[in-house]
Structures are given as structure tokens and as C-alpha cells.
């Protein structure tokens, strides 16, 4: 019999400290670097949201030390409205780009995609390293704007024109702040394009023998589909950022209309199109929502099956649904612009696919729920967060039905209803996906188990806490509370202030609960119980290698794949599962068709 496993030695294991831990070419180290960046970004974004929430609940509250962050923005430690908007912009930008895109896609994808397809690394390790360091630079450039001139931009993470292009006359941070923001996002786009390049080539070209496309685990499919989406979206956002920078620095007029008077000054631009920015931005911006959530769908399916001890009703349909979400996400972006002065007929044209996109999302949820029905789910931190993901995805998704219809959206647009909607479906759901992935894969990544008790406490506090924060948002929105106001002196808003205070208290407590997670992460990293190679009795390739995996993932050999990724609930020599790389025969009829 021929030796079907082949030697794998694309690059040598590094010896120097810098090559090993800093400028590493190893996809596993790069994945961890992305994870660390996302953690740093998430903590910064969370602190910003705390500051904002305190200000919304108690407008004149003194926040000790705030003056240190910005002398002009917080004279006497009291936040000005402009500084509130700056914090809000940075919170949104940091969370959307550097947490929700970076953690579930770039961090876990980098670490586990090559292992799940059986490769020893990505095909272009140098591009992969560049991808991380460019993204890191993007983060530094963004944070730099806190310390330069009049602070970061205040235009919101969507940076609508013409506010983003007229310069310092529009308010603090609208000069240099916007230039830094656009530079940072442009760099981020380059980093993600380099990452997508590697992800797509890895999935298509580096699969080991026997690993057909339909045998890829759902998480690998999710990363592959997300990288295709990212490739399309970030390639459009980058030119948009270039045009904004040119409007600032070169005096062009892409986005600034003529005759615009701001703060009693005539803006020296002519004839630009403010809607053009929205078109370019939302062509990226809507798929970005799915870039954040699709990896979560894959991770949650992957985690649930290992804990349900049976396959989903249909893996194939979940793959098709993720593909449908990816394709449709490019046809719905106009629903962000129902009240931007678009032709009402195009609003209708965008409303229809927006309602259609709920179909694949609903099918996915139904497959999860009906697969869970009757299964003896192993309750652990990972599976709890996976269930939490489903809960958040449904609760946040339902409000999408309302917003998808132009006639209702006219009333709800730019209210807290929208803020509640996207925080649940995109923010918290994706975060729960990240947590599920962390509790599930931490043993493989570090060789140590996380503390389960702390993990469960973390789950219940986060689960109850996030509902307490974001459910009242919907109520505020229906009561007419417009978003982006820094205080509520109007008569009709004043009765809502107690609701804001409740949300603030819930946000502070839920945020504090995240410190349990950080403690668990750091403590388990160094003091945790040491992990076996396959602690969850799972089947995909990452569990058939050592813990933590060696430099070339499989110790100098390519594994060979014999089975579908989720052979749970079968009779075998090791228990109720058969690993993908095990040559053991599964009784016919049990293998997925």
C-alpha cells in the first residue's frame, strides 16, 4: 500500500524570540495575536460605553479622571456633548471593526481554519503576518486620535457625509480626527483583504486527502464564506476612505455639496454628492453585519453538535443558508437609507430582499432548535453561550422585521429601537459566539482548561445583563427617544430618564461581569488544569492533534480524512463518536447523505 500521508515542511520552526512571538509566520500565533488585539479593543470599547452610559443617566455627573482623557472634552471631569459623540464614534468603530470582525473571523479563523482542513499553515504566511500587523497599526492610528489636536472624530462609526468631509469647521475632531479615522479604516481594509486571500486559498487548495468541501466543519465553511464577503466589502470601503481623505487633504469635492454653510462659514467645496458616501459605505456596512455574525453561526453549530452528541438535522442546509446570507447581504444595504432621500421605489426594492434575508436566518434557527429538541445536551460554558447566541440572534432578529419595512422605519429610524436591534443581533450575539468559541477552543489553544464554574457564572450574568440593557432600548425607541442625543432636556424625553438610569446600572454590572471572564482567561492560561488532546470528545481535525498543536499542526504528517465532520451518536471503539481522521468504518446508514 502506498504511503498516502505526505511530509509537511513548508517552513521551519522559528528559534528567535521575535520570530516566535512577535513577527511570527505561524497561523496559530497570529490567531492568538488577533485574539489579544480583540480583547484589548473590547475592553477599551466597553470602558467607553460605561462613560457614555454614566453621562446618559446623570448628565452632570463628574467622572473622576475624565479630564485626563480630554481636557477640552471634559472640563472639570464633566462630559461635553461633543465629547460624548466622540466617545460614541470610537466605541462603534472599535467594536465593529476591531472586535466583531477581528475576534470571530480573524482570530479563531486563523488559528483553526488550517487545522480543520488539515494543512500545516496558510499558503502565504508572510501575508498573514502582514495582515495582523497592518490591523494592529490601524488600531494604533485610531487610538492616536485621542491624543492629537481636538480629539477623535464625532461623526459616528458610519461617518456620514458631508460631516466627514468638510473639515475642522464641523466640530472637534472633524479635521485631523476624520483623516486618522479614514486612514485607520483604510489600513484595516488592507489587513482584512490579505487575511481573506489566505483564508480562501487555504480552504480551496490546502485540504488534505479525503477532505471534500462538504466534509469541512461548519466553522470552516463559515470562515470561508465570511472571507468571500470580506473580500467584496473591504475592497469597496477602501476606495471610499481614499476619497474622504482626498476631500480633506487635496481639496476635492466628492462628498461635499456646494453652497454649504457651517458655523457661519461657507465651505469651499462644490457639487459633491452626500448620498454617494452612504451608498459606498452601506455597500460595505451591511455585509459587515454578516461578517460579524456568520462566523458565530458556524462556531455555534460546531460547539452545539459536540455537546448534543448528534449531528444537526442538516449540515448542508446550514451551509446553504450561510451562503444565502452572504449573497443577499449585498442586495439589502439600501434599507439603511430609507429616510436619506432615496426614491421610494428603490426603498421598496431594498425592503423586499431585506424581508427575504430573514428566511435563511430563520431556517438556520429552526434547524438548531429542532436538532436540540430531544438531545441530551451537555451543559457547559461553551454550550450555554451557544444557546445564548441563538436567544440573542432571535430576539434581535425579530425587531429586524419591523425595521425592514419603510413605512415603519420612517418612525423608528435613528431611534434607540435601531440601537437595540443591532446591539442584540450583531453585537451581543456575535460576542456570545466569541465566548462560545473561547470556552470550547481554549484547551486546544493553550493546553489548559478554563474554569467551568466561573464560565457559567459569567454566562448567566452576561445573559440576564444584556437583556436588561438592550430590551429597554426598544421601548425607548418606540417612545421616540432619538439616538445620539447626549442628554434629554426635552419635555417628552424627561420621563424616560429613569429607564436610561436602569440601563446604565445594568451596563455597569454586566461590564463588570466581563472581568470574571478576563480573570478566568488569564488565570486558566497559567494555572488552569492541564487539558487532554480531546476534552470534549469532538470529531473534527483540530482534536486529533496534540494539545497545543505542534508548529506544523500534525507533527510532520498530513492526516487523512475518512468521515463527515460530525459523526456523533454512533457506535465506535472510543465511545459515541468517530473522528474525521479515524479509519474506522461507520455502520452504513449512519453517515450523512
Amino acid at each position: 500500500m502506498p504511503d498516502i500521508s505526505a511530509p509537511a515542511a513548508q517552513h521551519q520552526a522559528p528559534t528567535s524570540f521575535i520570530r516566535k512571538h512577535v513577527f511570527s509566520l505561524d497561523h496559530k500565533v497570529i490567531g492568538k495575536q488577533y485574539y489579544a488585539l480583540a480583547l484589548l479593543a473590547a475592553l477599551s470599547g466597553m470602558v467607553l460605553s460605561w462613560l457614555m452610559r454614566i453621562h446618559l443617566g446623570w448628565t452632570n455627573a463628574r467622572i473622576p479622571g475624565l479630564q485626563w482623557l480630554s481636557k477640552n472634552g471634559a472640563p472639570g471631569d464633566v462630559m461635553t456633548p461633543e465629547f460624548y459623540l466622540q466617545l460614541m464614534t470610537m466605541h462603534g468603530t472599535i467594536m465593529v471593526f476591531f472586535v466583531l470582525t477581528t475576534a470571530p473571523f480573524a482570530a479563531f479563523g486563523n488559528y483553526f481554519l488550517p487545522i480543520q482542513v488539515g494543512a500545516e499553515d496558510m499558503p502565504f504566511p508572510r501575508f498573514n503576518m502582514m495582515s495582523f500587523w497592518v490591523t494592529f497599526m490601524a488600531f494604533l492610528v485610531l487610538m492616536l486620535s485621542f491624543f492629537l489636536g481636538d480629539g477623535p472624530t464625532l461623526g459616528g462609526w458610519t461617518q456620514y457625509a458631508p460631516l466627514n468631509a468638510v473639515g475642522a469647521v464641523a466640530g472637534p475632531g472633524q479635521g485631523l480626527g476624520v483623516v486618522l479615522w479614514a486612514t485607520s479604516i483604510g489600513l484595516f481594509c488592507i489587513g482584512q483583504l490579505l487575511g481573506s486571500l489566505n483564508f480562501i486559498s487555504t480552504t480551496l487548495d490546502l485540504r488534505v486527502k479525503g477532505m471534500s468541501l462538504m466534509r469541512l466543519p461548519l466553522s470552516a465553511w463559515a470562515w470561508f464564506i465570511t472571507s468571500c464577503m470580506g473580500l467584496t466589502a473591504f475592497a469597496v470601503l477602501m476606495p471610499a476612505c481614499i476619497l474622504v481623505i482626498l476631500d480633506h487633504l487635496a481639496g476635492t469635492s466628492f462628498f461635499v455639496a456646494s453652497g454649504l454653510v457651517l458655523n457661519d462659514q461657507l465651505v469651499p467645496h462644490s457639487g459633491g454628492s452626500t448620498l454617494l458616501w452612504q451608498h459606498l459605505f452601506w455597500f460595505f456596512g451591511h455585509p459587515e453585519v454578516y461578517i460579524a455574525i456568520v462566523p458565530g453561526i458556524g462556531i455555534v453549530s460546531h460547539v452545539l453538535m459536540a455537546n448534543m452528541r448528534k449531528p444537526m438535522l442538516s449540515q448542508r442546509v446550514i451551509i446553504y443558508c450561510m451562503g444565502a446570507l452572504a449573497v443577499l447581504s449585498y442586495m439589502v444595504y439600501g434599507h439603511h437609507m430609507f429616510v436619506s432621500g432615496m426614491n421610494p421605489i428603490s426603498a421598496l426594492a431594498f425592503s423586499f430582499p431585506t424581508l427575504v434575508i430573514t428566511i435563511p436566518a430563520t431556517i438556520t434557527v429552526l434547524i438548531w432548535v429542532f436538532s436540540l429538541y430531544g438531545s441530551r445536551l451537555r451543559i457547559n460554558s461553551a454550550s450555554l453561550f451557544a444557546l445564548g447566541f441563538i436567544s440573542m440572534f432571535v430576539s434581535g432578529g425579530v425587531s429586524g422585521f419591523f425595521l425592514a419595512q419603510p413605512s415603519i422605519d420612517i418612525m423608528l429610524h435613528a431611534t434607540y429601537f435601531v440601537v437595540g436591534h443591532f446591539h442584540m443581533v450583531m453585537g451581543v450575539a456575535a460576542m456570545f459566539g466569541i465566548f462560545a468559541g473561547t470556552y470550547f477552543w481554549f484547551p486546544k489553544m493553550t493546553g489548559r482548561m478554563m474554569n467551568e464554574t466561573l464560565g457559567k457564572v459569567h454566562f448567566w450574568l452576561s445573559f440576564v445583563g444584556t437583556y436588561c440593557i438592550f430590551m429597554p432600548f426598544h421601548y425607548l425607541g418606540m417612545a421616540g427617544n432619538v439616538r445620539r442625543y447626549s442628554s434629554f432636556p426635552e419635555d417628552y424625553l424627561q420621563p424616560l430618564i429613569p429607564v436610561h438610569r436602569l440601563i446604565t446600572i445594568a451596563a455597569l454590572l454586566t461590564g463588570a461581569a466581563q472581568l470574571i471572564f478576563v480573570y478566568n482567561l488569564v488565570h486558566s492560561r497559567f494555572r488552569g488544569q492541564s487539558a487532554p488532546d480531546n476534552p470534549w470528545e469532538a470529531t473534527s481535525l483540530e482534536w486529533s492533534t496534540a494539545t497545543p498543536p505542534p508548529f506544523d499542526n500534525f507533527g510532520g504528517k498530513h492526516p487523512v480524512v475518512y468521515h463527515d465532520p460530525y459523526q456523533y451518536g454512533v457506535e465506535s471503539s472510543v465511545g459515541d463518536y468517530v473522528m474525521q481522521a479515524s479509519p474506522e468504518q461507520v455502520k452504513s446508514g449512519q453517515e450523512e447523505k
Binding site: 473580500l231 466628492f254 456646494s258 471503539s573
Partner: protein
Amino acid sequence: MATTVHQPPQIDPQRLPDHGHSGNDGGRNLVPGDGGRRVALEYSPPPSSTAMWVVLYAITMMFAAFTSALIVRKGSSLDWRTFKLPSILFLNTGLLLASGVTLEVSRRRIAAFLRNLENKVRNPARWLLVTFFLGLLFVAGQYVAWSQLSAQGLYLATNPSSSFFYVLTATHALHVLGGLAGLGYVIRKLSKSSLRRSTLDATAHYWHFMDALWLYLLLLLWIKV
């Protein structure tokens, strides 16, 4: 009382994998076992080809975004002023197209060279150098076009039409410079006899794409600007 004894499942460690259920089988990246310089040179690992299509797709999306911006910007305002394109652009077009032809000539020669016909093909890098030179001339020609326009008083910020002209041509020129770097890499690898066929092919695809992209941009600018 009868007892049921479960037979342990049979494991055949020599079992070959089947081909899965659909989609292409994996395992395409395994380096051929028999080794040998010729096999290694002829062997094309697919990732570079896949990656090149991915890159070209991203570039296409980028220029699609610029194009839609141009169309929206022109349609939404009254300040658009057309101007005559500098005629040197047509000469540049000829240079770039010629470089595509010379690249194909050099690809044939290098393919013959790699098939161990060294005695028939002397200096296989010659036509690559010609391609490289023509590419450099193209970029220089674009620079001349920009200076001609600025001599007429048309700068980046003068009018949206000139803004788009500079943005589109400069972005394309930057990508051509990237292609020149790729050609330089190929020439260096060839001189060290360590060129992979797939590297050459990927570079050639990129270069021809730059040709096609330029023809598209020229047409767009000719119609709209």
C-alpha cells in the same frame, strides 16, 4: 438468561479514503513524492493561482466602486466640466499592450527552457526584461500625461472630472508598479534557476489584467471625462 456480546468494530488501518460526497476531493497540494528538480519546476501548487484570482477580484471590486462613484458624482451635480484627454495616453496604451505580447513570448520561451531545452533557448529572461522596460515606459508616460494636464491648469481639485482622472489613473499606475515588482521578482528567481511555473503564471495573469483594466479605464474616461 442470554447475554449479548458486542463485537468491537473492525478497524482497517490500511483503508484508503473515499472521495467524500460531493465537491472536489482534497489533497491537491501534496508535493509529488518522486521529487526531482524538473518535477519541482513543472509542478504548480494551486494556491498562487487561486490567490491571484482573489486579488484580481478585489481589484475589480475596488475599481467598480470608483466607477459607481464617478457615475453618481457626474449625475448628481451641474459642475462637471469635460476636458480632452492628453493624446499621450494612446501611446501609453500601445506600450502596455505591447508589453502583454512580449510577456507571452517570454512565457513560451521560459516554458521551453524549463522543459530542459536550455541549449535551444539562450537567455530566457531577455523578453521579460523587455516587458519590464515597456511597463516602466508606461508609468513614465502616465506621468507625462499628468504633467501635461497640470500645465493646462487641471489639477486634482480643479474639477470633479479631473479629480476622477487623477484618482483612477494613479490607482491603476500604483497597481502597475506592483506588477513591475512582481516581474522583477520573477526575473530574479529565473536568474537563480529557482522560478516556479506557478509564480510566472500568476504574475502573467496579473499583468494581462492590468492591460484589460487600463483599456476599460481609458474607455470610461473617454466617455465620461
